[in-house]
């Protein structure tokens, strides 16, 4: 048997589900193929859900999606070995529905999203690995799976197979992933009674807090740590560029980073008594604008992590994934309606839609950011230390006058980083953020 569908979607993460849902909803025949035991069984994310991207696909998702807590407070911590300097932003505005951001647990969320995909009419098969694309000349016409009689055909194949995208690599659509373009993140989910979480973070039922951390916790590597509150668990994680792990002179491993972070005097009391429920690791494509490969061709499109669509600066990924998935599906729908075939030319509107959306606009805005942070590790070592030292000095009352303290702080900055270095760093940051 060699059945033919309008669209085959490879992968059932946020991008694949968005694509399969959108296409099936429009009446296209869709086959979605997932490698894991069930959708969500292999998927890893922080995980924060940004409502907007999903709203555009399933407007009433809040009715039955498994959401943990909506975020009402964002903390930003710059840490040294024993302290942090930080800002907290909390607003009751975030308590007015519809809420903007939620913490989610992906194993549950993805299962829900997949149930919507099935309701929309797509066929979803799991525990099946797509091994290669079937080509007719230079046109992708289907996929080959690891099962007996594993060939199945489609007008369009949407690659949503995640950060490694072995399919796209095998087909030569993009090269090997570079260690400098991906971050390796590890996280734990720690179980804790709901009341404990709410008391510790000063929140009510359904309210949530996000803490973003950077500084010494990454041992001089480019990366960040994070802590999210779920309903009755806390997610805690840290990620750094893979190339930095490779080159780290202390040979610091991801799990030691996480253990150190858990032991940090500012973090430890927040997670005390937590029972580990889940431990996961994931690669995140953080190469940004310049690392996005060719996103479409004859009979194929790439969406989500497979296309490197992650805004590392704002910790956004799943929303870009869903948006790219939706746009790819819309392109397939339009191409089908036009009836002029599915060559690169007919699918070019996908690239165009991406460029016009926040996806490529944001990636373009921060295009130099990965480079700047990567080549200047003082942002993760020297500055956090100086900041914390300065705060400690100003706040400690010890009989030394404030003027002298100011001088000392300034001279500390000068000692660690020359004036030109300081000015240069400021300029680099300004240019990268601009």
């Amino acid at each position: 048997m060699s059945e033919k569908f309008d669209v085959i979607v490879v992968g059932a993460g946020p991008s694949g589900n968005a694509a399969a849902y959108t296409a099936a909803k429009a009446g296209l025949s869709v086959l979605q193929i997932e490698r894991g035991e069930y959708p969500g069984s292999k998927n890893v994310q922080g995980a924060i859900l940004y409502a907007n991207a999903l709203e555009q696909i399933i407007p009433d998702f809040r009715e039955d999606a498994p959401l943990e807590r909506h975020i009402i407070e964002q903390r930003m911590w710059v840490l040294d070995e024993e302290s942090f300097v930080g800002t907290h932003f909390r607003s009751d505005d975030y308590n007015k529905p519809p809420y903007n951001r939620y913490t989610i647990i992906r194993a549950q969320f993805d299962k829900w999203f997949s149930s919507k995909v099935k309701e929309a009419g797509a066929l979803v098969i799991c525990e099946t690995t797509v091994e290669s694309l079937i080509l007719d000349g230079d046109q992708v016409v289907g996929v080959r799976c690891d099962r007996q009689g594993g060939e199945v055909f489609a007008d369009v194949v949407i690659l949503a197979d995640g950060v490694n995208s072995t399919l796209a690599r095998k087909a030569g659509f993009h090269g090997e992933i570079q260690a400098g373009n991906v971050a390796l993140a590890v996280k734990e989910i720690l179980f804790m009674p709901q009341e404990t979480i709410e008391a510790r973070f000063n929140i009510k039922e359904e309210e949530g807090v996000v803490i973003e951390m950077f500084g010494k916790i990454t041992d001089g590597m480019m990366g960040t740590g994070f802590l999210y509150t779920n309903k009755d668990s806390i997610t805690l994680g840290v990620g750094c560029m893979l190339s930095d792990f490779k080159e780290n002179p202390n040979r610091t491993s991801p799990y030691t980073l996480l253990e150190k972070m858990k032991a940090h005097p500012s973090v430890a009391p927040l997670i005390a008594g937590g029972e580990m429920k889940e431990y996961c690791a994931h690669l995140i494509p953080e190469g940004g604008f310049y690392a996005v490969p060719k996103v479409h061709g004859n009979g194929w499109m790439i969406v989500g992590d497979s296309g490197g669509f992650v805004n590392a600066v704002h910790r956004e990924g799943s929303n870009l994934a869903m948006t790219t998935g939706r746009l790819a599906a819309e392109t397939a729908i339009a191409a089908k309606a036009a009836g002029k075939g599915f060559k690169a030319k007919q699918l070019a509107s996908y690239k165009q839609a991406l460029d016009e959306s926040f996806v490529m606009k944001d990636l373009h805005k921060y295009r130099d950011m990965p480079q700047v942070f990567h080549q200047n590790n003082q942002f993760f070592t020297t500055y956090p230390e100086l900041l914390n030292r300065a705060a400690r000095s100003m706040i400690t009352v010890d009989g030394i006058d404030k003027k002298t303290k100011e001088k000392e702080i300034f001279s500390n900055f000068r000692k660690s980083r020359s004036l030109t270095g300081l000015a240069g760093d400021a300029l680099k940051l300004w240019r990268a953020f601009r």
Binding site: E37, S41, A107, C145, R147, G149, E151
Partner: protein, 282 residues
């Protein structure tokens, strides 16, 4: 030949947690799977079908989401699937479950005569091994439990010979068909479904029977009403007081680390050191 396989959708027990405060089982987020023991029953049924032809129907009592478990069985090669689902089944113990399933199997028999009913040895969530025998008794079927191999099936003479695991050995039993077989684990290996089956299963419209459709007459015998079993208490075993110790091994040779660990063990168990030294002396 018509074979009916009874399966159950169960929470993956490897991933179940007990709530540290309330001591209740936390099912939320735990993936649901086909009871692993039932898969040995299904595979054995499929092998008989491969050999003798006929039809394999899979049947399951459970909530609507148990449809996924039945679809999975279709992907492995079952021909038909029936989900017996009704709110009034809620709270059923093994007595009430076997009553409902027996009625449904009888109903299937009205469509096509049933030759063999298969169940797994037991489920991984209840671990009672009572439902299979309960169905056999209610339907008046020959009962073969803990079957490790089907040695012979003679359809002409309606007889079956099986090997059964028994204490201290293997029993070889011969009996008449129709019969009910509860299949032992590890006796076969589930096949890897071809892609065609996967797509067929994703499309397959599982039949859903409520209590009327399943031919249940006596509603006092189903659900909570029909269940004399009372769960008096659920508890998690107390964790052991002593936890594993982590030891830093920086700047130490493996020999140093090992000696250190052994020394610590001996300090805690002085008799152990004496015994080992005594043995070494001999």
């Amino acid at each position: 030949m018509h074979i009916v396989v009874c399966i159950k959708q169960v929470p993956d027990s490897a991933q179940i947690r007990v709530h540290p405060v309330t001591n209740t089982i936390m099912r939320q987020g735990v993936p649901a799977i086909v009871n692993p023991y039932d898969l040995f029953a299904l595979e054995e049924a499929l092998r008989l079908k491969d050999k003798f032809g006929g039809k394999v129907t899979v049947i399951c009592m459970g909530p609507p989401q148990a449809e996924d478990a039945l679809k999975k069985c279709i992907s492995f090669g079952a021909d038909d699937a029936v989900l017996v689902t009704d709110r009034s089944f809620a709270g059923a113990d093994t007595l009430a479950t076997s009553y409902a399933l027996a009625a449904a199997v009888r109903q299937l028999g009205r469509e096509q005569k049933v030759d063999i009913v298969f169940t797994g040895k037991q489920t991984i969530d209840g671990d009672t091994a009572q439902v299979g025998p309960g169905i056999a008794k209610r339907l008046g079927l020959q009962l073969l439990t803990y079957v490790s191999r089907i040695a012979d099936l003679d359809l002409e003479h309606d007889s079956i010979t099986v090997e059964r695991r028994a204490e201290g050995g293997v029993q070889v039993l011969k009996t008449a068909v129709p019969c009910l077989i509860t299949m032992l684990e590890g006796t076969n290996e589930m096949r890897f479904a071809p892609l065609e089956n996967m797509i067929h299963a994703a499309r397959y419209p599982v039949r859903k029977w409520n209590k009327e459709a399943a031919g249940i007459e006596d509603v006092t015998k189903i659900g909570l009403k029909g269940s004399p079993t009372v769960v008096s208490k659920v508890f998690g075993p107390t964790p052991r007081a002593e936890k594993a110790l982590m030891q830093s091994v920086e700047d130490a040779t493996p020999r140093d680390v090992a000696l250190n660990v052994i020394q610590k063990i001996f300090t805690q168990h002085p008799t152990l050191e004496r015994d080992i030294l005594a043995k070494a002396a001999v």
